[in-house]
Amino acid sequence: MTASIGALDTCARLLREPVSLGRGDPRVSLEKYGPLLLAVAVVSAAVFGGVVGTYRGGVQLVFAAVKLPLLWLIPILVTLPAVRALHRVCGVDVDYGQVALAALVGTARAALVLAVASPALWLLYSLHVGYHVAVLALCGSLVAAGGVGLHTTARILPGSGAGKAVANMLAVAAVGVVFAQSGWVLRPFIARPRAEVSFMRTVESDVFSSVAASWRSARGDYTGWDARRQGLLANPEADSP
């Protein structure tokens, strides 16, 4: 009962006044709210993942509910040092604790916004929209929620002026790239209607070529899907014609 009250209170503060969670000594706040914020982020993202999985149904519902929290957390875990470095390079003096707390609050808020908005996506999927429209709706939801999270993070981090604005833009770019590629590696979240359901697909190419191909397919041009693995993931034997 008390735990649920604490979680509800934290969720209310995340939605109404997220900056209040980032006040004070970041280490004290991180110890006090960190585990709960993580739990909120994981549960909220899992709820949203479950809704995404309903497009295909069955075991895909579980797969998507497991993978969405990973998609939400991996980018901040990977980019925290880079975000701090970018701020310091731009003359914004932040310590690692402040960045970690701000990123955690932003991530939890974004995931919570996704969970709150998931009934709308559920309604859209229940109208039996096409696969590519479903993918674009998912991407749009993630980008919108990500924007909310990044805006929250930027509000909590100290500093002002042009230096902070530049640092925020660079941080958005860094987090965005890692987020997009994480989503690409962890796919499928929706699963094609006639494809075999699998937890993860084999890694091929990168997210940017896929987005371009998806955009073409949404307009009826189904070319450009012959993706190849590249760089560290390249497999010449398997990819040779």
């Binding site: 009250i5 991180l30 585990p35 040092p81 970690a100 990123a103 034997e237």
Partner: protein, 194 residues
């Protein structure tokens, strides 16, 4: 085939290394008296919990009322968490109140050391009596707040029998405000010292 085997080996090594570092961070946090939830969270998300390692480990409180503060806080937490006191929320305000009490206690400890130091060397120095008086008032306020915490425990016990509502959060906020007033009085006594 060889490429995919080395790739999965790479993933395993990266994943294993990540979890290993997480376990080490969690153990370090546990040894520094961090909360169990924070240590558990560090296993999976150690980059987020890493800053907790750089914070000073919880040193033993050093003020003259440290033991009583700790006892009152522990007993009030236990009372609030007792199943018989169902529906009494464990609120963040208690943590904030205890932190304020510990800070006030640390200031008392500092003043005690100062009085012993200066008073031993030159007992008649100007301002020493004023400092002693201020210290006595501050200590009395801290003691009064601690008494208030004991009264709150009794109220919670009475509530479990009589069923009347106990505004726990409001009481804790009141007690905190009382400590806050102490700071304001200190500022009033020494308005230009900063």
């Amino acid at each position: 085939m060889i490429a995919s085997a080395s790739l999965s080996g790479l993933w395993l090594a990266v994943g294993g290394g990540y979890v290993l570092v997480g376990a080490i961070v969690a153990l370090r946090l546990a040894s520094r008296q961090a909360s169990r939830a924070a240590a558990l969270a560090a296993v999976a998300c150690w980059p987020l919990m890493l800053p907790l390692l750089s914070s000073p480990s919880s040193a033993a409180p050093s003020g003259p009322l440290a033991a009583r503060i700790e006892q009152c806080a522990r007993e009030l937490r236990a009372t609030m968490a007792d199943p018989a006191a169902a529906d009494v929320p464990v609120v963040d305000d208690l943590d904030d109140l205890v932190r304020d009490l510990q800070q006030a206690d640390e200031r008392l400890g500092m003043v005690d050391a100062l009085v012993a130091d200066v008073g031993g060397a030159s007992p008649a120095v100007a301002g020493l009596e004023a400092l002693r008086g201020a210290r006595a008032r501050a200590a009395a306020e801290v003691e009064a707040v601690l008494d208030g915490m004991v009264e709150l425990r009794l109220s919670i016990g009475l509530r479990s029998l009589a069923g009347n509502a106990v505004p726990v959060q409001d009481r804790l906020v009141d007690l905190r405000a009382r400590l806050g007033a102490l700071d304001e009085i200190a500022q009033f006594d020494h308005p230009r010292q900063s």
